[in-house]
């Protein structure tokens, strides 16, 4: 692996020069919060040790995405988006999450070509965390907060410079011109260890031997957790008639909403928050693992930090496993 050194003053010049060809998405300040946004001026970019309150998943999996337009004469126009994007300053947890989402959308029988294309047009630049924030538990999920290989290049803060690990050709294109340093002297690039926090049980045991009613009692069903989560990827199609044409949108959906599984008949298999909360936990810790081999929780801690009633996925999973022992 190749390592280069980028002086901190040069990062903004680099981004500035890339702005003509790419849409640059990076952490910026909005009010008091830090969010990933398309950058207008490079001075807005904030590279410190704070965590953005929501993940940058929306730049590969937008909250609403126009897919196609049907006209009255039977013509169907597929909506094309060729924007080249640089996702800059993405944390290990979010990179791991994009890896999981890539598996969901691009592996197996059905390929989401919209996601696939966006991913192809995106350069992922990782950025290491120095400290664990309140609620973070990426270590328990087997990640290294300071490094991840699930990107094109990874930045590590090193005083007045960044050490950049170049991982792919896309990364080489951006950082290849900077002074190379000896890999031995560079920062550690271990990808983390064994995940300690897992659910190792089967669905029937989990359905019948866990008191989901009590676990979910506090939950208000607000859905904030699913919106800010880096791995939540449920969506719904909506056809909207606008100006004589019908437009098909792919929109985020949330298993926390009562209408999520509502049938046309009026029957709802997940009628109460007990079933809905169980679905959220088991989707993350059981179903994605069964289908794609990953546990779909990266320990980013966002749902813990943003939950208005203090639900804590880490304690819930721990409690479930303790209870089943």
């Amino acid at each position: 692996m190749k390592h280069v050194v980028v002086p901190k003053d040069s990062i903004k010049d680099l981004l500035e020069s890339l702005m003509t060809d790419y849409k640059i998405v990076a952490p910026v300040r909005e009010g008091q919060t830090l969010v990933y946004k398309a950058v207008n001026q490079v001075d807005e970019v904030i590279l410190n040790d704070e965590a953005a309150y929501k993940s940058p998943k929306e730049f590969l999996f937008p909250q609403t995405e126009q897919m196609m337009v049907f006209s009255k004469d039977g013509d169907i126009r597929i909506t094309e988006d060729d924007t080249k994007t640089i996702l800059f300053g993405v944390r290990s947890c979010d990179l791991e999450a994009l890896k999981i989402m890539t598996a969901v959308f691009t592996q197996g029988k059905f390929i989401d070509t919209y996601f696939e294309k966006k991913l192809k047009n995106t350069v992922l630049i990782g950025f290491g965390c120095q400290s664990e924030k309140k609620g973070c538990f990426c270590g328990d999920r087997g990640l290294n907060k300071g490094y991840s290989e699930a990107c094109d290049a990874f930045l590590t803060d090193n005083g007045d410079q960044y050490i950049v690990q170049i991982i792919t050709e896309k990364g080489e294109l951006l950082f290849g011109g900077f002074a190379q340093i000896d890999s031995q002297k560079a920062v550690s690039c271990e990808s983390g260890g064994q995940a300690l926090l897992e659910i190792n049980s089967d669905e029937s045991t989990l359905f019948n031997n866990v008191d989901w009613g009590r676990i979910s009692e506090k939950c208000m069903g607000c859905g904030t957790c699913t919106y800010i989560c880096p791995t939540c990827h449920c969506f719904v199609f909506k056809d909207v008639v606008e100006k004589g044409e019908a437009i098909r949108y792919k929109c985020w959906d949330s298993c926390m909403y009562p209408k999520f599984t509502m049938h046309a008949s009026g029957h709802n298999p997940r009628a109460s928050k007990k079933e809905r909360y169980r679905q959220r936990i088991l989707h993350k810790y059981l179903y994605v693992k069964q289908n794609f081999g990953y546990t779909a929780c990266t320990g980013c801690g966002r749902c813990i930090r943003s939950c208005p009633v203090g639900m804590n996925i880490k304690s819930v999973v721990t409690e479930i496993m303790e209870g089943l022992k």
Partner: protein, 292 residues
Amino acid sequence: MSFEKQRIELIDTCKNLLKEGKVNLVLGFAEGQAEMSASPFFIRTPEETDEMKWDDACSMTLAKYLLEKKEGAAIIAKPCDARAIVMYLAENQIERDKLTIIGVECAGMKGKDGLAAPGCEDCKLRIPPVYDILVGYGDGLEAEAVQKAADTMEAELSGKLTRFQKEMEKCILCFSCRQACYGCYCESCFIDREIPNWLPKELDTGAKMVFHLGRAMHLAGRCVECGACERVCPSGVNIRYLVKDLAEFCEALYGYQPGVNPEEVPAMTTFDMNDKEVGFIGGEHNEACCGS
């Protein structure tokens, strides 16, 4: 008295209620984890009451859980929670005789930043408007002169629009404000409806405005100013100023204040030929409410 003494008295009260079997559940607070300094606590045994928390971090609103726990529950109610209970009683959502209200004299809650929590900045209520048992804070508790955080609208229409749009840009339409809101308990929210479809699917500022304006209108004369909408918002959107203006408008027009008297008929559920009609197109113009 202080929070600590009040806590001890609360524990004592709740313990007795559970021991004597007068209630099967107490809605209270426990120590929170991670960022949260307090968390809702469903207390079912006398022993559990010892883990109860009560201090100025207990800003969360508990009364919405009463819509699920209809029988035999007791609730620790701050004035804002009690106002919500009054609203639920007035709107026939809960039954008074199946509920035990442990009112607390409220010294005001604080947010993570140590300043007054959303909803508390302006609140002058110290004693809940309705309760069965009152746990006092004691001498020395006076309504402090606090700064007005949720200021009212700008006079100029263009200023109002710019400010509103600026707030809306932050919104991510996760609907957590709706879920936390005491007033939002519709089984089917207008925004979730397909026929007619209220929410444009392209989620721009306009779509966000549709949701927040629709919600605000539904809260006219109903908002009990608990501040939950703002407290739960992950993106820090200030929406209360809008609802607050509507509340003042409603009070000036119909003389109705929500969450004060359960016997009073809510302003928006009654119709009188003599009602002022400034809110309607072609209706009389009332300078007291609308400005010039």
